[in-house]
């Protein structure tokens, strides 16, 4: 299982980076970033996975005494959980700036933003 997730995550990062570097439309760049973001999250969760173990939640099927043998590492999950929520905030911020840039210039093509070009 973790092989599948790791490979998918790596491929998603590559595709996202390629899209972010070759597209010219700012909206497209943000979409590519969010794809790469998903890939990174997938990799971090996949690293914590262990075969034939189950989710770190104790209930009738997983008693607290046998938790040591039955559950997987909960720490990467906690990290990714916060990372996803922050990711939405970052995406919203990027979109806000994109909207603001469009208001000023009237276009979202990055080749027309050359004030900082030397």
């Amino acid at each position: 299982m973790s092989w599948v997730a790791l490979t998918t995550g790596f491929i998603l990062i590559l595709i996202g980076l390629y899209g972010a570097l070759t597209n010219r439309n700012i909206l497209r760049i943000i979409v590519s970033f969010s794809i790469a973001n998903t890939g990174v999250n997938l990799i971090i969760v996949a690293v914590g996975y262990m075969a034939s173990r189950t989710a770190p939640i104790l209930d009738k099927t997983v008693a607290p005494t046998e938790a040591l043998e039955r559950i997987i590492d909960p720490l990467p999950q906690a990290l990714v959980l916060t990372a996803i929520v922050i990711g939405v905030g970052v995406t919203a911020l990027m979109l806000t700036y994109a909207f603001k840039l469009y208001e000023v210039k009237g276009t979202l093509d990055i080749s027309s933003y050359k004030e900082l070009k030397w």
């Binding site: 299982m1 595709i15 979409v31 998903t38 999250n41 996975y49 929520v85 919203a92 979109l95």
Partner: protein, 84 residues
């Protein structure tokens, strides 16, 4: 039994990669955004298969509506700039 889950995971992985290719190659930005939303929804099922239901729920709650909606709102505001 576990092989079935791995098979479904491979199916989901293929569809995610296909959707990612669609997202960066397709001409219409609306479809690119929809494909990104689809990637995040399928990633949530993959999280569930990786025994992380908390992360799966976060991704499902956020990826299903919120991100897609934010993108579409900005896209609707800059509609004149659709072609690229």
């Amino acid at each position: 039994m576990n092989n079935i889950l791995i098979g479904i995971a491979i199916l989901l992985a293929i569809s995610m990669i296909g959707a990612a290719v669609v997202a960066i190659r397709v001409k219409r930005p609306a479809i690119a955004i929809l494909a990104a939303g689809m990637i995040s929804l399928f990633a949530s099922i993959l999280f569930l298969f990786l025994a992380a239901p908390d992360v799966a729920m976060t991704e499902a709650a956020i990826g299903s509506g919120l991100t897609t909606f934010l993108f579409f709102f900005v896209l609707g505001r800059v509609r004149g700039d659709e072609h690229d």
